[in-house]
Symmetry: C2
Subunit: 368 residues, 2 copies
């Protein structure tokens, strides 16, 4: 995959690039589970893709709703505010799963809301939000459903068409494990209609320009894209889709369960509501008296094992282990062993090998 | 360079990334010839970098001036209009070099102009515009000087500090021959002051956020950047700067002169005012009775040699040969030989070997 980025670059205005574009958009449509939406490829981080949704769907003064329950939801709010939108929000504590009834009530209270800005995997808290019922509530209120799936697409179930999503923004570097640099945006029919009406200023991220170039006999990108990253993404999608989406999701579920069972076998508590659903990252409460930042720092220093400290109000009390993309069973075993040793060194009593044993139990189950 | 993109990625929130950022910004400062400006690294095409200049320097209704004389100047105009700016312009034919007196007159006629949007290398016409006197005229009128150097930085002389530039936007894939995906923006003091006042909406490209993250003890990027492209750019800069900027510019001048002498030895005319100054691309008039698009198409089909057809009003009458970045003397010889054979096949009388001989004469000169 990385080697695909080192190969000669396909010239983006020449032969071969159209085929690359077609393979990428077809593969991503499979991943999004959509037959109807267009998939646009932007050269930017996921944040740029989210900004494109704001720019293309709204006009100054439009109302949007953001259900707050973590860092990435708050980023949605800041982004919408930066564009002069009127932001309504529901508020739940970090670690809660967004409650569709709360959202429906807020939509009833604010009938002018034109879009609901959702985050599928709230990486800061380890929570997967219930996109399907949230999307239903939004559509019933006549609002666009815009979902940040940057860190979740490909790692947990998602269904653009069946769930009635209007816009979903993903990124190259997450479950697909390609290099960062490309955001992809699935745009449904209602969102295209919004893009025609929207009056917020936009140029580089103007979806209509991407559509024009995608409609050429050999699809192109309007601007010079990160070609090497596209080539790596092409290879990553090929690998991902080789066994089908279901198999990839089952792999993520198994790795996730191994981490969660392993952590619990050490007597630690998971953080976040519906924690079993998050197959991308596991948020864990640090044991009483041990700073979570210290656990993350020692894991890196002593074992070169990169885990994430807590963000915002969870700083110091929660740490997070990511387990999506090209992570193997032995990577998980290794990380859990490092955690066992780190906790022991920090003075927390640990039954050596317990976490690894729990993970091995998961990996030993017969495969479907 | 490409291999640097295939190596393991440096984690953008971890050790080593700060050093990468420091090397990149220091190297790019050398390239920009600035000691005072900050250099920001955006994950986007050059167009995104240009848009960042509009978003960060202006407020709705602000006036800007665009000297029109080719495709990329017209793109500046469309971009500024997309953001609701009032665009004034001077008009010269495609192929003309922008006249600083014309610009000074326009600035006198429109005293509210807050910024002048320039393009150093107008790739569509093969013209290098005289940035130094244009910048002087703009500054004397109290306007910001914003320059698109995407296709010129590193290939022709540029001096951010000495010429009094406020913003200059470059791209990874041009003279440095790194992969596309990163735009870099040099931002001077007056532009920072403008960024504090500007009221256009911005988030992903908000320069202030980049500055905050660059000021960390280990500089970071606010969003997940195209790390593989940054690593390739790092290696590309190292190669570029190994012999110093002057040597790289002299190499570009020599390759450019070889192309131009070669083309003239075939009896063809160069297109564009001050044509000798453009060391990035040479624009050539197709011989009477031969379509320029056909020349470009046959060069590719028969010899796999990629040259560019004419854009806009020059379509069919002008073709363009790029010769910057990692282009060798033998690449030039090869391209000229392909041009000789292509012209002959299209019925244009050619003295075989004449273009190659002219190029060899340039390459045979003693080096300074």
């Amino acid at each position: 995959m990385l080697l695909a980025q080192a190969g000669p670059l396909v010239y983006h205005r020449g032969p071969g690039f159209g085929d690359l574009m077609r393979r990428l958009t077809d593969g991503l449509r499979t991943l999004y589970r959509t037959e109807r939406a267009d998939v646009l490829l932007l050269t930017s981080s996921g944040t740029g893709g989210l900004e494109s949704a704001i720019q293309n769907c709204f006009s100054p003064g439009d109302e949007v709703l953001v259900p707050l329950a973590g860092f990435f939801a708050e980023r949605w709010k800041r982004l919408a505010e930066a564009y002069g939108l009127v932001v309504r929000w529901t508020e739940q504590p970090w670690g809660a799963r967004v409650d569709p009834r709360l959202v429906a009530d807020a939509l009833a209270a604010h009938p002018r809301v034109a879009g609901v800005l959702l985050t599928q995997s709230e990486t800061s808290t380890g929570v997967i939000h219930p996109i399907e019922p949230l999307a239903r509530a939004a559509r019933e209120a006549g609002a666009l459903v815009i979902v940040d799936v940057v860190s979740s697409l490909g790692a947990v179930p998602f269904a653009f068409d069946d769930w009635g999503i209007d816009v979903a923004v993903g990124g190259s570097q997450k479950a697909l494990s390609a290099s960062p640099g490309i955001a992809f945006v699935a745009v449904g029919e209602r969102a295209w209609a919004a893009a025609e009406r929207a009056r917020l200023p936009r140029f580089y991220f103007d979806w209509r320009t991407y559509r024009t170039f995608a409609a050429l006999p050999d699809p192109e990108n309007p601007w010079t894209p990160a070609i090497s990253v596209l080539q790596g993404l092409d290879r990553a999608l090929e690998l991902y889709l080789a066994d089908g989406v279901e198999a990839a999701l089952a792999r993520h579920e198994r790795l996730s369960r191994a981490v969660k069972d392993g952590v619990r076998a050490l007597g630690l508590d998971l953080f976040g509501e519906g924690e079993a659903d998050n197959w991308t990252v596991t948020a864990i409460r640090a044991p009483e008296g041990i700073d979570a930042d210290t656990i993350a720092a020692r894991m890196r220093e002593d074992f070169g094992c990169v885990i994430a400290p807590g963000q915002g109000p969870l700083k110091g009390t929660v740490f997070r282990i990511g387990h999506f993309g090209y992570v193997s069973e032995l990577d998980i075993v290794q990380g859990l062993a490092a955690l066992e040793m780190t906790l022991e060194r920090l003075g927390h009593p640990v039954k050596r090998g317990a976490a690894v044993a729990a993970a091995e139990a998961v990996f030993g189950e017969p495969r479907a």
